[in-house]
Symmetry: C2
Subunit: 135 residues, 2 copies
Amino acid sequence: MNIGQASSASGVSAKMIRYYESIGLISPPNRTESNYRVYGADEVHTLRFVKRARTLGFSVEETATLLGLWQDKSRASAEVKDIATAHIGALETKIAELQSMVKTLKHLAHCCSGDDRPNCPILDDLAGMPAKKGH
Amino acid sequence: MNIGQASSASGVSAKMIRYYESIGLISPPNRTESNYRVYGADEVHTLRFVKRARTLGFSVEETATLLGLWQDKSRASAEVKDIATAHIGALETKIAELQSMVKTLKHLAHCCSGDDRPNCPILDDLAGMPAKKGH
DNA sequence: ATAAGGCTTCCCATCATGGGAAGGTCAAGG
DNA sequence: CCTTGACCTTCCCATGATGGGAAGCCTTAT
């Protein structure tokens, strides 16, 4: 299997497969005589693992750790769970930040007439003007 | 006021002030004879505006547009509201993505005993193994 | 034999930010 | 007056994960 086929089979772009190899996330595959990378079912399985981890928001570094644990048949599941739990915490922190932005923006947008007139509470807020209460 | 003081007064790092100037987000300030940037209250006000917009998650490009509208005394507030509304939408999309990740991860973590044993539903999921129902 | 399409490596761009080096400037104190 | 330390200047590099694209080689089908 060439890199293009491994890409289709795993959902990881050829570009990223080479990148993951270059940073040591995955091992260099065998090559044909003409220097083409050759992948087998195992490599594709690994790529799918990586893809899934990335889809769940794990960084490449966390993914590397998870890959190592996956391949270590004697790992303690607690190690994996710790990584996942920390990641959940990070995601929730991020979500809270974004929600806080949304909350503020929704309030401002609600206060903005959104018509032809120039008066705009959104700009007023950005400019540091004290918001008018109620309406 | 030197850049360091403008930085403290606005909450924007000196590094970023120079960067914003280099990309044209803010205008180049006057310089002293010895080439030091000199800022006044207006510039600091603009920097605070930028800081606030960035804090609310607007990209630098969106911030540039908002700055332009702020300075255009005859803008229509609808233009501002449109940008804010689009941004709220983008944030909500992002939030939904993150929440989806959290939901999956919480389920997996819940299914993982997190002890010394190697058996781990989290890794099984990443490896593409069909999840066992119930628990 | 030729054309199309896939592969290789290498460089560059993104987005917003920080780090740090090398060198100029300013203010305070000995 | 001179030193010291804190500031300023520009310039280059790094981050994280990804894509774009060029130049050149290989393979496959016509």
